[in-house]
């Protein structure tokens, strides 16, 4: 590379799916000066307009933060309120909550794998362009997605902004017919997911391993999904109540999303973080299958996150089948509770990682204030760090187009919303040689 060559990449418009973003990279010679992932999600001020609303309305409103994981927002707020009201759910309702959660993971993960990530593997812009050449792959993905949607519909009526969840349980229990249909769908998708995992294992993956701290929940026995303590790969373990003490948010001028740091450092949430920290909690059969296919976790290579998603699909479908096998539940759809004032918090694992909610309620259950921390804002600092290291390892001497595609893939490893937008990095490169 010529001495003193300057790169000035400006990506003014990463488009706006779930978060409008841009990328700015400037480098001199073989040193990066700045590398910012800018997120311009137009502010929708949710935390403010939830103030003054009754807790009853919160789940339906907060769902509208994200159309891809609405249930994560609904459920996290409901679980926070149930903690405050000291609601004990009977076992069958706890199982149904998990079943619906699994549905959302399946739906979101298969969307990411097939529509957002798979085009990279074949070097095309869009999954829609794969319909003719790789229709079987797409159909297989849609089958997994449909199994997820079926579980969401079973318990929530629809997969985007479902209506079935409420504080105290559900508004109604599923019918036997719908339950039987879900069993059929899930059984068929289990085979599809196993093939998908095999396919993911066969794809060659570039190695950009590096050090990072992973953060996820950890339950008592099972793989984490909607409860448990927060653990980190740096050895911390804390109840969710301590989240605000260790995790601090701050604003930077180039983003409308908050940056979250753990003790001042970036960290990873999401499928790879979960697998890394909870691999031993996967059932032996799922681990064996992974190892048989030559997959190894924990992994410090973000390019393994696709495999992590596929492995979570396999786990989720098996976990769903176990719940479905117990039969369509009978008994109450919800339990009574007493509203009370106070503060409460909860964290669950959304498909894309840890999500934290904190509320203060007045006597009648009106929201006095609230804080909602989604996975994307937690990953933002991590993505920038990764980009810096990965771009250096990849080589600043690569062509503009190669650099652009590479950056897109690095970003896409983290989050399906941002990942799809980065298909369109409109690189403007200024080079001073």
């Amino acid at each position: 590379m010529s001495e003193g060559r300057k790169i000035n990449l400006k990506v003014p418009f990463i488009t706006r799916v779930e978060g409008e973003g841009a990328l700015a990279l400037s480098a001199k010679g073989d040193r990066i000066d700045t590398l910012h992932l800018k997120i311009f999600e137009p502010p929708r001020l949710f935390e403010r307009f939830l103030q003054g609303k009754s807790y009853v309305e919160v789940p339906d409103l907060s769902a509208r933060i994200c159309g891809i994981c609405p249930m994560a927002y609904q459920l996290t707020s409901i679980l926070a309120f149930e903690r405050l009201f000291e609601v004990e759910l009977p076992a069958h309702l706890v199982r149904l909550r998990k079943l619906m959660n699994l549905g959302e993971w399946l739906q979101s993960h298969s969307l990411h794998i097939h529509f957002l990530a798979m085009p990279d593997v074949f070097g095309v812009d869009s999954a829609l362009q794969l319909a003719d050449s790789h229709g079987d792959l797409l159909k297989r993905g849609m089958q997994i997605q449909e199994a997820g949607n079926t579980l969401m519909r079973l318990l929530g009526g629809r997969s985007v902004h479902p209506v079935g969840l409420q504080v105290g349980g559900f508004s109604r229990l599923p019918t036997q017919n719908a339950w039987d249909n879900a069993c059929v769908q899930v059984d068929a998708a289990i085979i599809a997911a196993d093939q998908l995992l095999q396919w993911c294992a066969e794809q060659s993956v570039p190695d950009f391993s590096h050090d990072f701290v992973a953060v996820s929940l950890q339950g008592l026995e099972d793989y984490p999904i909607n409860g448990g303590d927060i653990i980190t790969s740096s050895g911390l373990s804390m109840p969710v109540d301590e989240y605000p003490q260790r995790f601090k948010e701050h604003q930077v001028s180039h983003s409308t999303a908050f940056y979250s740091l753990l003790d001042g450092k970036d960290y990873l949430v999401g499928p790879l973080a979960r697998i890394n920290l909870n691999y031993h909690r996967l059932p032996a059969s799922v681990r064996q299958r992974a190892e048989q296919l030559g997959l190894h976790f924990p992994s410090q290579n973000m390019f393994d996150s696709l495999r992590a998603r596929a492995l979570e699909c396999v786990w989720a479908l098996n976990a769903a089948r176990d719940i479905l096998k117990e039969g369509c539940p009978e008994g109450p759809a919800n339990v009574d509770y007493q509203v009370r004032a106070g503060t409460c918090c909860f964290a669950t694992e959304a498909p894309r990682g840890l999500i934290y909610h904190h509320y203060t309620l007045e006597d009648d259950g009106t929201v006095a204030n609230c804080t909602i921390i989604p996975p994307t804002s937690q990953n933002q600092a991590r993505i920038e760090q990764d980009l810096k290291q990965a771009v250096m390892a990849f080589g600043l001497d690569k062509s503009d187009l190669e650099l652009k595609h590479f950056c897109e893939q690095v970003i896409r490893n983290y989050d399906p919303c941002i990942s799809c937008s980065t298909h369109f990095l409109d690189f403007r490169i200024k080079r001073d040689n």
Binding site: P43, L45, F49, F115, L138, M142, R158, T256
Partner: protein, 262 residues
């Protein structure tokens, strides 16, 4: 000739676009009828090629949204809004009832970093709209119907009948009569097939106002069920707070609150 389609996003949650990507194998057969030209979530970026149909998701909340919307209008034959955000300003229009600067300061420590317009407004307040798809989110059936009609060269007929009608046809038990649930069904347009009542809960209005909504009577009934004026305001200040008929009830009951305080 397949219909050319662009899917655009302004300020929204992406849930409506998901109605396309989430439909499973039906998407493959849909692609025989349409050619997607621009659809970011699906990986296609080509915003300025003229298309037969531009579907717009999301409301206008930034200057950039507005600029982009004008470009969309300039490059399509039919512009159809997709969902509550685009059609009525959506849930984020709740801020239109407040002082945005105060709100921004409440959420962001550095409000000066945030560029936003005072209001969240529907697409039709800014450019000509040929057809509106209500719903938060829109359904697969709405999109199918639209595309079927447009591929025959006509716009669909608007169906604004009430959730109650769908509820009756499904032979569901009325949740307001039997359980005193404050259901918005009598003033909300159907499209969901009365989903919430089928789950035993009241409609919260995610499809927006119906034809000839009798908000006065419904709100009076809510008061009869024991709802306080503030609670009645909250029922109408939901997903479609920016629509005139909902605004009328919000104002009417807010005045009552003020009077009570006085």
């Amino acid at each position: 000739m397949a219909l050319t389609v662009a899917v655009h996003k302004l300020t929204s949650c992406s849930g409506c676009q998901l109605a396309f990507l989430n439909q499973g194998p039906a998407l493959l057969s849909l692609m025989e009828k349409v050619t997607f030209v621009h659809f970011i979530e699906a990986g296609l970026y080509d915003p300025n090629t003229p298309v037969d149909l531009a579907l717009v998701e999301g409301s206008v909340t930034t200057k950039d949204d507005l600029e982009r919307l004008k470009q969309v209008r300039a490059h399509c034959r039919y512009l159809v809004t997709m969902g509550a955000c685009a059609t009525s300003g959506g849930v984020q229009a709740l801020r239109n009832m407040a002082n945005v600067d105060v709100w921004k300061r409440a959420v962001y420590a550095r409000p000066d970093f945030i560029d936003t317009l005072a209001d969240s407004t529907p697409v039709a307040e800014h450019v000509k709209v040929d057809f509106e798809l209500w719903g938060c989110p829109v359904t697969q059936a709405q999109l199918d119907q639209l595309i079927l009609q447009l591929s025959r060269g006509v716009l669909p007929k608007d169906d604004a009948e009430k959730v109650c009608m769908a509820c009756k046809r499904a032979q569901q038990v009325c949740v307001m009569v039997t359980r005193q649930e404050p259901c918005m069904g009598p003033v909300v347009r159907t499209g969901c097939g009365a989903l919430c009542p089928s789950f035993g809960r009241g409609c919260y209005g995610c499809f927006g106002p119906s034809e000839q909504p009798n908000g006065d009577s419904l709100a009076n009934r809510f008061a009869g069920l024991g709802l306080q004026p503030e609670e009645i305001v909250q029922r109408f200040a939901g997903i479609h707070s920016h629509t005139p008929s909902h605004q009328a009830q919000i104002k009417r009951w807010q005045q009552l609150i003020v009077k009570e305080i006085e």
